[in-house]
Symmetry: C2
DNA sequence: TAGGGCCACTGGTCAGACCAGTAGCCGAGG
DNA sequence: CCTCGGCTACTGGTCTGACCAGTGGCCCTA
């Protein structure tokens, strides 16, 4: 029918979902803030006029969404939580594991976001000399970590990426990128066993990171972005088909300065 | 202490969390697939050896994460849901709400992701002529919508963005961008009341979208990306300080072809 | 003032009940 | 033989009350 009429579709709302909606709105509006305590479950059942198990089901949803946490025995009541990236890890890894999101899409996204972070860091290096100095320190940590083994290196590598994000100053973009970076790493660890010569990998990664810091320090936005793209492609293209690698290269490294 | 010893930290695991973990593993390993039905709650309580309310709490978590759904009276049991990138919507929104992301960061992120979507659509236009034809149709819908008013226009505008994302073929990137685009729109609706001459806004938006489709149709990746950046900046820079607008312009539109 | 004990509250789990909703089976009628 | 309606037994949603481990905070004693 061309004219749908004055009504819209309705769907029954479950009591615990209505409770979640009230909480969502209270958090969105700032009426409830991270660090706040909620009333106890028994008090919430009185306020909402529902059974305690209905309150608990709503709290499970909020907890699952990373909004609240509770501890048995804590008399102060459930706590409203500061945001955590754990919130995104679960769905991200679930999507990867069922193949709804491919490694290709993940790496594409990462190149978009991490390349932008690198470029952004370069534009801000002049206002954050301490941050840049810290990047050099983190490069040294990379070398120290590599000498101790892959686990230490990976830890130092994460710290390095966090350092770049701090200089870039966009925590939202950084969070998105971190979730994707860690999801890709975990995916490869559990689903792929393409042997990579670890010492070669670490050596080349360190070289790339040093060059990246040079571009950042010099304020070279586009060079920093390209350096990041080169590094990611160098690492991941072994996991892609030739066609996929070519498409990434064409999209990110074509044209200017290519 | 420098040497942590042979043990690692432990934390008590709640029964419903242990149930969720078993489900996660079953989904990850493919033992449970989208479309499958789970045993009923009463059967699950027997299998896990726990109370029905504990099962229900676990199911709330899985449902909240977009993995299962249920309907009262459905004798076939809870259903495992097809996983889609929609899975990310809720945690992304939660992240935005709790994380108190600024409008500047939202727009920065959107320019990064939407610019890439536009460029990606341009690189794929030759393999998706139907998609491009549909974009022209959606541009016509924009014009029709604008004639009927802002609400119709905004609806057509969302459809247009979804059309671009379809041509781009990265639902992952699209979902991220959609969450942010809608969040920015909602932010403006609730926090700003700078009057924008609506007819001017719609007219200019339509012109920009037409130009964007031209670039996409011509396969001009960088031009499509820049067009998208121009459009977003033209719309949002009124909400930023001169310094902020200048920084966005410098980052996204400097250098090549600037 | 500090530490330990205790109490009353907390959250986690459970059993059982009730009710609205639905899948599917069976029978009747066309 | 097919379709439709009625009915049954199961489903999920909600609730009440109970029990127990855990904890915050108060009070008392050294």
């Amino acid at each position: 029918m061309s004219d749908p009429g004055p009504f819209s579709q309705v769907k029954p709302v479950r009591a615990y979902e209505a409770i979640v909606a009230q909480f969502d709105e209270a958090i969105r509006s700032g009426a409830i803030r991270p660090g706040d305590r909620l009333p106890s479950e028994r008090e919430l059942m009185r306020q909402f006029g529902v059974g305690r198990s209905t309150v608990r089901e709503a709290l499970r949803v909020l907890q699952s969404n990373g909004m609240v946490r509770s501890r048995p025995g804590d008399r102060r009541g459930p706590e409203v939580v500061s945001f955590s990236t754990e919130l995104l890890h679960r769905p991200m890894e679930a999507l990867l594991n069922v193949g709804q999101v491919t490694l290709y899409e993940l790496i594409f996204f990462r190149m978009v976001t991490e390349g932008s972070l690198a470029g952004l860091a370069a534009t801000r290096s002049d206002v954050d000399p301490d941050g840049v100095a810290q990047l050099w320190s983190l490069v040294q940590d990379l070398k120290d970590g590599a000498a101790r083994g892959m686990q230490h290196f990976l830890k130092a590598d994460s710290a390095f990426h966090e350092g770049v994000s701090r200089v870039a100053g966009s925590s939202f973009l950084a969070v998105q990128n971190d979730v994707v970076r860690i999801a890709a790493r975990n995916y490869l660890a559990t689903n792929m066993d393409t042997p990579v010569r670890r010492s070669d990998y670490m050596t080349r990664a360190i070289e790339s990171h040093e060059l990246l810091v040079r571009h950042i320090e010099a304020g070279e936005q586009h060079a920093a972005t390209r350096m990041n793209h080169h590094t990611i492609l160098a690492h991941y293209s072994v996991f892609f088909s030739e066609d996929e690698a070519a498409r990434l290269r064409a999209f990110f490294l074509s044209g200017e300065g290519g």
